[in-house]
Symmetry: C2
Subunit: 131 residues, 2 copies
């Protein structure tokens, strides 16, 4: 059975205030202002628990670090190749289109994950062309 914990609530609340898909480490250092003794282990345990419960989602964008998102509605993400920022992307719904594109597959498709990569608005106007 699941028991209430103030730390877990603080973690979830913090995540709901952020739309930049923070990592466990960022969650940790922020929640620490409210719970100075909280441990990284607790943060990881709760993020994993919340993700398993479906209350948050875990994003693996390929940078080797997990990102977390309190918005569990289906939507898409953009990752900046320059600064690594992860942001939401306005997108027409493509899940149907995607799964319709699959041909001749004997297994069962249950879902898909799509990440877009490029230069975010800020880096696009900042970065040298030669980098």
């Amino acid at each position: 059975m699941l028991k209430y914990s103030r730390q877990r609530e603080a973690i979830k609340n913090f995540l709901m205030t952020r739309h930049d898909h923070p990592t466990a480490d960022v969650v940790y250092s922020n929640v620490r202002t409210e719970f100075p003794n909280i441990s990284l282990g607790t943060v990881y345990r709760n993020l994993t628990l919340l993700a398993d419960l479906g209350e948050i989602s875990r994003l693996r964008v390929g940078d080797g670090v997990d990102h977390f998102d309190a918005d569990t509605r289906p939507h898409y993400h953009f990752v900046c190749n320059e600064c690594g920022a992860v942001s939401d992307l306005e997108l027409n719904d493509i899940s149907g289109l995607l799964e319709a594109a699959v041909r001749d597959f004997d297994g069962m498709i249950q879902g898909h994950v799509t990440y877009f990569y490029g230069l975010c608005p800020h880096c696009r106007s900042t970065v040298k062309k030669t980098s």
Copy 2:
């Protein structure tokens, strides 16, 4: 300047014989039958080098382990939620479709990554419905 190495050639050759997108560890234990003294570090160094050269590609499917693919032509992958196998997927080209779906984005999209998840043909017929 790049110098020839028998180990690198063996790694690439091995990868070309496999269509199951092996991990570095699998590459290591297989190439070891030909080079008993090869080290995991050398395998990682060469896989990274080959990927940087564009001769192979690195797949980050979200299971925490990198997979490698000697087929660098654009194509899509399927990951089994049950056994973790990574396989190629027959798919109509969806890149245009995907990029056309993006709206109101100020940055610059340079590419995307899509993975499909579900049950592979084998697990589909094996796994209990309750798992």
